[in-house]
Amino acid sequence: MPGKVKVKIIAGRNLPVMDRSADTTDAYVEIKMANITHKTDVCRKSLNPQWQEEWHRFEVDDTELQDEPLQIRLMDYDVYSANDAIGKVYIDLNPLLHNSIDSADIIPPSSTSSKVRAPMLGGAATYGGWFPVYDTMHGIRGEVQVIVKIELFSDTNKFRDSSHGIKFFCTAGVPSGLHALFIHGFVEELILTEDPEYEWLDKIRTPRATNEARQTLFFKLSGEVKRRVGLKALEMGANAVIGYRLRFDLEGESGIVARGIGTAVTLVSQLDASPGTTLDELPFPSAAPGANTGSDSADNSFMDDEQHRLGQSNGSNTLSPSRIPNNMQRRSSDSDLSITPKGNSFGSTSGGGSGNNMRQFHRHSLPRPILNQESSIDLLEYPFLTLNKYPCGFIARFGGMVCARSVKLLERNTEEPESRDLWWHELRMEVRSHARALACNVVLGYREESTINDDVCILSASGTAAVVNMQHRDGHRISCRKFKSNKSSKKEPSENSNVSEENDEGKEDKSSKILIENVSKSRRLKTNITDGHSNQIPPHCTLCHVPYSLVNSPMPVNAIRCAVCKKGKVPDVLLTTVEPPEEAMITGRGCLVQVQVCRSKKDAKGEHNAKEISDSLPFLEYDMYSAIINKLRVKGMNSVFNLRVSVTVGDRLIVGIATGTALFLTPMPAPPIPKLIASKTNNSRLSLTEVQKRLQDACRNNREIYGVVPNQEKDANSGSESEESDEDLPALELASGNKDACIIEVDDGEDMNAVNLLIESTVPKGFEVVNTETIPGLAGYEVVSSLQMFTQVWRARVNPCQNSSYSASLNKHIRRLQQSLYFKLRKMVPCGLLRLRFKVELPDADEIQITILGMAIGLGKIAQPLKGSTKSKTSRKEETDMIFKLDEEVATIATPPASKESKKQPFYLGYTNLLKNSHEPPTGRYGVDITPLNFVPGAKIEEYLGNLNFFFIRESNSIREIGGYCNFVHGFINELLAIVRAHITALGGNAMVSYYMNEFTLLSAAHKNQGQCLIQVGGDAVRVSYSGDK
């Protein structure tokens, strides 16, 4: 599908003065697409030039359309000397390619979308507006107004290299308003290329030229990876890739690796999916596009299942008619209502519980997507899904987190992309085999990370092994799928069987670990759940039931009877990398749980370094997981969701951070309170009892704060244990035995430190802190508005000293950072901090850098507490305690339209504090909202406009003059947010969801007064509507 790209340069404004003598600029523009360059006339002596020229036309090949960004460079014309560059704008044309093709079936139904965008007009779509002109040495220098249009020729050649029409989403879930008809599976692509920074040419060219060469390369790579991933998706018969993640590994001398992973799906708009469409009419895609394998046996069995479910869900349909938003049409045969949690069973997860349609994001009212075919999931080479959030009822059971790491030595010159492919392939096979060992058929929330130190690279792949619904939704036993060698992986059939073998040759080292922590176990939670829970969704305790047979389980598992159904077996602890499913049974609220482990390492080179690292990794991981299990116990919770474990290697340190959201899953047992035991030789008995007391206090407090102890449990604690007289008590005794209680042995100061680390400082009142998309189990409040997306960067010099543990001091500082975050956001309470991401970098032997990215959202009180007695009590308590002062100015930011009167008030608003303990849903919002969440709180996503990825480089040779590195980085982040916002606006959007910031590298040379900073950001541009919009 070749296309015509038409570009019009209209005007510029606020350009910098390039001609010092005349205090003005003679600007012209170079427009470059692929290898063709056009130029505009010179607009003399103006800082606000008007070009108003005709369209510049480019005839471009279809692959180039996807791979090449449109480059717009502003230049200053000089008669005598070389023309100076003012700056550049890169425009990724990919978002335009979708709109013009199949917008009809992808764009969500909405009354406004058609008239606002009219993307079908003449087959072209536009991308236009004011773009900041960015220079890598000077930052933003003015703006230029550009309009871009594309005319595509339709071409349905099967053998084409382009993948137009495949829509990409960073959103790790089914995009709102759309429905995933089929999930085809995992798609990935990897490209290795030279890094311009390390080319010989770099020695003679200017830093600006190098930076621009790199930026251009990153844009091209991003386009090319996307195109190739799209091709694979196309091959599978998909029309979109969701949960798309693009990463760049800067391997230094050996080049740049661009990796993209995602999940290929067939998306249809909700409208298309709803009426009249029955399952058997839907085309089942298969490996060959176009070919329908309409009804084979697997298909039929699926149908049976569907009918089966339908039968049992009839009753509950009538239970909650008010919950059906009237703007959503549903298939009559849809059975999902039965498993839609009612608002009062979970508190509210995001939109739940309130009657306001505007705020309901219908994510649970969709028909459940289907994995391609029952049999095909086994045929998939990698049964991985990169999504975090799944439609209701999709996940049948959780196996647990699986993870694999390998340490690789990068070698110059000998590398080919194939070797990287192979590395990842090994890792994926390992993950797959772990998952199969757990009798699970898919890996959910799959992600791949890498960290590089010098020439050693650690690759990690992790995910959550799970069984997804295809046949047995209610079966209490899912037959253990036999591990069978993969028939479909034609490339390396041998790979499957020998994944666990060590690859030796001294160059590679591998450390891997199955991370299902089913450590010692204790007393079970003996009661059924409070109030309304139990009778509504009893089937859903099955989510927690172990999918594997305990007899053949690959590792010692302490499974006990499910506290809800008393039939299935549940593990005592569950770690997952996905969002908590809506149908999960939760007691109390979720909270952030994080452990940091820091180990010293010898500063070695090459192979020694690799060995050092791989020797150290298992210990690091062990420390991390045992710490996280113990922390969970202190919190009184039994599961972690969205767990992210990242390992960073520096010259002298290895740092591991695991962050997740702790939850109490009702079917699973309550964790024991850790007990401390000192060795005989220990002379500090006193401090031990002290610590023990503090630990117990912390446990009790946490349980109270997060409401994780059901009433009866409390009674049991205070009174006798005699109440535990269920019929299955004997079995319980067997399971618990003497090794059940959690005992932490304290032999010396180091152990003591570790214990101290378990006690986290409390989160101030008014804050709810999690790393998930919603606040699980939030009671009395709901998410109503989005307040701020924030980035916090902390960098410090590491001063090694003997007497304190590495982990302890790292922990102390991260704690301080968090407290400082709460302090900065104190005026926004009651607020939730969602999607907190922690990133650690070790840029130098003695430097550490931590980046925190998150979203502050406003919590509003639900008019009538829907919860049972315990919940409403806590929420009421919170209300009265929440006497925080909210500045007028914050209020104006949160609710712009309300602020009209306030602008006439005097400047000293700080004194006229408002008492505010609830946020209101916004009726509109100024500017462009950027959020790492996959939805915009308080707004409805009308349209997805395209996936944007940016890679920016900023360099400066005058750090001191700018005001130091703080100002340099602060200014840079501010600028790139401005550029992202401008691009969103140019696409006709007003928000970005699933915003991410990946590569954040700051190279500093203070003595030379130099600094260079690299950041990769991106997300999905969307247009949202607020309740106040017309």
Binding site: R13, N799, R816, F823, K824, R826, D887, Y908, Y926
Partner: protein
């Protein structure tokens, strides 16, 4: 292992503005001092400490210093800057606040050339007034910036300032004073004029701009340029010198019922001196040197004798009103053009003289 923090920054999508901190920043208070000032108020929450406050204040200071570049060019920025996501009304507040000034500082720079040399003298001013030196420099630079942009621009100066700097009308008027008195080099620095505040002079300046400049709509419109023709016409008012008897008669008749006997006697006795002083100033205005010394002339030639005679401001306005109106009844001013010149001239002089006149108490 220990860490020594080298960088701690916090950036948000919507630019956070804190009025109190912004105020301190504008006033030139250093971040460290700001911490001390806000320490008492901010630590409401448990678990917070001074370091957090400091880090917050530093975040804000960094943001503001990035914003400062834009604030130098507010009108362009107000509606369509992309770098910061700030609502227009908050942006407008930031601009107004940034261009706010201390009377003492602007009083000091009135009529001075806004040169680098004078910028150095701000140290003295800062010491004298207790206003932070950074704040003095900001105000000086603001004045200079506005001056540079507006000085040569045709049209009404207040409107030009509003258009180019998005300032409130009141604020724009003050800057217009600085530009007007500065570009025409009015002498405001004499010791005898020190008792006048910025507002006094601003009042006079606007009176002059309203009456003596090329205000007429058209291509030549520029209220920082004098209407030269008019100033030359003022020479013809000399005829009034010869008619002082008649004039005196009319004035005396008018003021007698309104004045104390003592002051009235003074009017009767010294009318000729007074009218000479006033007409002397008026007739010399076409010479730019005399225009520049207008204020000092008014003080020395007119006000000082009146002070000596213990005139109150009320007396003065009664006298000036009578003086202006009586002349219009005289044959000497029969010509329409001359009458008009007289009115335009006396409007300003009356306004200025009453404004410059301070009763003893006010003066100190």
């Amino acid at each position: 292992m220990d860490f020594s923090t080298t960088m701690e920054i916090f950036v948000s999508n919507y630019t956070l503005i804190d009025n109190e901190i912004y105020e301190l920043w504008v006033e030139g208070v250093s971040a460290i001092e700001a911490v001390c000032q806000l320490k008492g108020k901010a630590l409401l929450q448990q678990g917070s400490n001074v370091e957090m406050l400091q880090s917050e204040i530093e975040d804000h200071y960094r943001t503001y210093s990035l914003l400062e570049r834009l604030l130098h060019n507010p009108a362009k920025i107000k509606d369509h800057q992309l770098e910061f996501q700030i609502e227009p009304q908050i942006m407008s507040m930031l601009i107004q606040r940034y261009y706010k000034f201390d009377d003492a500082v602007y009083r000091d720079i009135l009529g001075k050339k806004l040169s680098t040399r004078n910028r150095k003298d701000l140290d003295d001013l800062s010491e004298r007034t207790g206003i932070n030196i950074l704040s003095c420099r900001r105000q000086f630079d603001n004045a200079k910036r506005v001056f540079k942009v507006v000085e040569e621009m045709p049209g009404l100066v207040v409107k030009n300032i509003i258009d180019n700097f998005a300032l409130d009308k009141e604020l724009a008027k003050s800057y217009a004073t600085v530009v007007f008195l500065g570009s025409l080099r009015f002498d405001c620095t004499k010791r005898k004029l020190q008792y006048l505040s910025f507002q006094d002079l601003s009042h006079c300046a606007h009176a002059i701009m309203a009456n003596w400049t090329c205000k007429e709509q058209g291509p030549e419109q520029d209220d920082t340029e004098f209407d030269r023709e008019f100033l030359l016409d003022l020479k013809d008012l000399r005829v009034m010198l010869d008619k002082d008897r008649e004039h005196k008669h009319l004035v005396c008749a008018k003021v007698k019922p309104q004045m104390l006997e003592k002051v009235f006697q003074d009017v009767e006795n010294n009318f000729k001196t007074y009218t000479r002083a006033i007409l002397g100033i008026s007739c010399g205005l076409h010479r730019s040197r005399e225009m520049r010394t207008l204020f000092i002339d008014m003080v020395e030639k007119c006000l000082e004798p009146w002070y000596a005679a213990h005139w109150s401001r009320a007396d003065l306005s009664i006298f000036l009103a009578a003086y202006t109106h009586s002349a219009l009844e005289m044959d000497a001013l029969r010509e329409a053009e001359l009458r008009q010149s007289w009115e335009r001239c006396m409007n300003v002089l009356s306004a200025c003289l009453t404004c410059l006149h301070k009763d003893k108490k006010e003066k100190k």
